[in-house]
């Protein structure tokens, strides 16, 4: 574990997909940092680039996609210049990812035990019996009853919530420094979601893992994160501490998102909706990508806004931010 800096620092990351129809700038100049034991909520709607950001960190972007610029510093080491061999030794050991669909993580034809023991043996110099014991403990930790028997089951013998917990157990088994969780609870029921959030919190607290929680659900982030990073059309539009962003959203998009959440409003009143829809990533409007849906947009927004830091610890990409505390 290196130094005192953040566990992960992403600087000016650009991941573009070179398709036949044109260049999709899925991630375009994204920067953020996560400290040890902290949680960053990466929030945005479908197609905003939040998942591709996660994939880029792990070096999992496939052609026609390519990281074209930026730096990804993990404990001070730039992952973009690290070789595939080095990445492979980090993935599953120091950095783990939890996907929305646990069937994507688990091999359907291998027993859970095989998959978990393999994860340990690939990275640690222990014997098989020790690895099995670690696997059993990890299963117990995420609340799977009778882990000894369940280890010999196949993924299809688990329910969705159980499967996701197995995926989380695998992610946590080597006590990584960083976990990237991509909408891990979106497909789950509320009571199961509560269980998963509980486990994630506990393991983060106990092990000091840094967590990136990718989601579209602001309410989940409110209960979990220390900082929030809001993305729109491949760019970070607002970033700050949890309370700052939720209490005083200054970007019109963040404000619109918060106003769209029903529990915020008085019951039965009309919700303040964001008009229109997310533009196609192949055909983004020039300048600010949000201007077509923004109530504050004018001719200034035809130029591209820079990410600024109007208050320390608060970054925003907008020409017409809301004043702090304004209604």
């Amino acid at each position: 574990m290196a130094g005192t800096g953040p566990t992960l620092r992403v600087e000016g990351l650009r991941t573009h997909f070179f398709t036949n129809d044109g260049v999709v700038k899925a991630v375009d100049d994204v920067s953020f940092a996560v400290d040890r034991g902290h949680t960053l909520g990466l929030v945005g709607e479908s197609g905003c680039g939040k998942t591709v950001t996660g994939f880029s960190i792990l070096g999992l972007v496939d052609p026609p996609g390519r990281v074209t610029a930026g730096r990804i510093l993990f404990n001070g080491e730039d992952l973009l210049t690290a070789g595939e061999e080095r990445l492979r030794s980090l993935r599953g050991d120091r950095i783990a990812m939890i996907f929305q669909d646990p069937m994507m993580t688990l091999n359907p034809v291998l027993r859970i035990e095989t998959q978990m023991v393999e994860t340990v043996l690939a990275h640690q110099d222990v014997d098989r019996a020790t690895a099995r014991r670690m696997a059993r403990d990890a299963m117990g930790k995420v609340g799977i009853p009778s882990p000894d028997e369940r280890l010999s089951a196949y993924p299809h013998q688990f329910s969705g919530g159980m499967r996701q917990r197995v995926a989380i157990a695998i992610a946590f088994i080597n006590q990584p420094d960083l976990i990237i969780a991509d909408e891990p609870t979106t497909a789950l029921d509320v009571t199961i979601q509560g269980q998963i959030l509980f486990e994630a919190q506990k393991l983060c607290r106990e092990v000091g893992t840094a967590l990136i929680w990718i989601t579209h659900d602001l309410a989940v982030v409110a209960g979990l994160a220390d900082r929030i990073c809001v993305m729109y059309a491949g760019r970070v539009v607002e970033e700050g501490s949890l309370d700052d962003v939720l209490d005083w959203p200054i970007h019109p998009y963040t404000r619109g998102l918060l106003n769209s959440v029903p529990s915020q409003k008085k019951n039965g009143e009309r919700l303040e909706q964001i008009p229109g829809m997310t533009p196609s990533p192949l055909n983004l409007p020039p300048g600010c990508a949000f201007k077509t849906r923004c109530p504050r947009a004018d001719h200034v927004c035809d130029a591209e806004p820079e990410l600024r830091e109007p208050v320390p610890g608060r970054r925003i990409r907008c020409f017409h931010p809301h004043a702090r505390g304004s209604p």
Partner: protein, 331 residues
């Protein structure tokens, strides 16, 4: 006043019949049985005219099956459905068709619920012509009117569903339902598949339509925030049974059933920051093999021997408020 929709002891069982091999094995003394899922188990609910009733529960609790039976898509195994006080099973063909038209359904997945090979004008316009609501020569005009009503540009009526975004597709689904001039809409997770900002648009549309057309909704959702926003009354289901019915205000202020309380506790909220989650223990049991007595007892912190033995009945605990829990008996 007669409620618009009333269900009396409505049940739906799905039976997986034994195949030939299993039957032979059974004859030879093997322990094989037909698998029966009690998706909906003797449910009584009422929906009054102009009311929005939220139907809440986790996956597998039978909320969609109940909605489909009310919408007339699935035949019930047992029990009755009354439409304006008349049993739909006893209606003659003409009356039955009329009643069926009055109840329409909006589905969760706007990608799967629209025929990809039909143009919007046919998706929306087909049913009203067949049922004689508009003459074929007025179709274009009528379709345009319905499309405008749900916020779609009538210029797009010659397009196919894949040419629309998720939110617009959901609007097409709503237009299709509205085209036969229903009084009652069953919305089954109608906004669950949409992005947050689009969810707000569709929720607003539902509320506008209710005002403009005097509609009644059964709003099925797992999202308590959404249900709290739109409903007048809320019905909570767990494993095929109704466990609590209450006015929205009462339910959210003072949930009675332990399951409702657990559910409300788990809902992430914007104003609860960095909270420590304290989850309900256990999983939702399989509906193939539900627990004895009260279905919730294995996960309930207050369960007693009685809960394990005897299923609680749904009874009135306050005016307009029902709950199925032995704890209300003061034992």
């Amino acid at each position: 006043m007669t409620p618009m929709i009333e269900t009396l002891g409505l049940s739906k069982r799905f039976v997986k019949r034994l195949d030939l091999a299993a039957k032979i094995a059974g004859r030879l003394g093997a322990d094989v049985r037909e698998e029966v899922v009690h998706a909906v188990d003797r449910v009584d609910i009422t929906v009054g005219e102009g009311e929005v009733v939220g139907l809440v529960g986790e996956s597998g609790c039978g909320k969609s099956t109940l909605g489909r039976m009310i919408a007339g898509i699935l035949p019930p195994s047992e029990g009755r459905i009354l439409f304006r006080g008349v049993d739909v099973a006893t209606m003659d063909e003409r009356e039955g068709k009329k009643a069926a038209l009055q109840v329409q359904m909006i589905f969760q997945d706007p990608f799967a619920s629209l025929n990809p090979r039909m143009r919007v004008e046919d998706i929306v316009g087909e049913a009203p012509i067949i049922h004689g609501i508009v003459a074929p020569r007025d179709k274009a005009h009528y379709v345009a009117e319905v499309m405008r009503r749900v916020g779609l540009d009538p210029d797009y009526r010659r397009r196919y569903p894949h040419q629309f975004s998720g939110g617009q597709r959901q609007r097409i689904g709503i237009a299709r339902a509205l085209a036969v001039k229903p009084e009652f809409l069953v919305c089954d997770e109608a906004i669950a598949a949409l992005d947050v900002s689009i969810q707000a648009q569709i929720l607003n549309l539902f509320m506008d339509l209710k005002e403009a057309l005097n509609l009644t909704y059964l709003f099925i959702s797992h999202d308590l925030g959404v249900v709290k926003h739109i409903s007048d009354r809320v019905v909570i289901m767990y494993l095929g049974r109704v466990v609590e019915v209450a006015d929205k205000e009462a339910l959210f202020a003072q949930p009675n059933h332990p399951y409702t309380r657990a559910l409300l506790n788990e809902v992430p909220r914007l104003d609860l920051r960095r909270r420590a989650y304290q989850p309900v223990a256990g999983e939702i049991p399989s509906p193939l093999d539900p627990p004895t007595g009260c279905h919730f007892h294995p996960r309930c912190p207050h369960a007693t021997q009685r809960c394990r033995d005897e299923a609680p009945v749904l009874k009135e605990i306050a005016p307009g408020r029902l709950a199925a829990c032995h704890l209300n008996d003061g034992t």
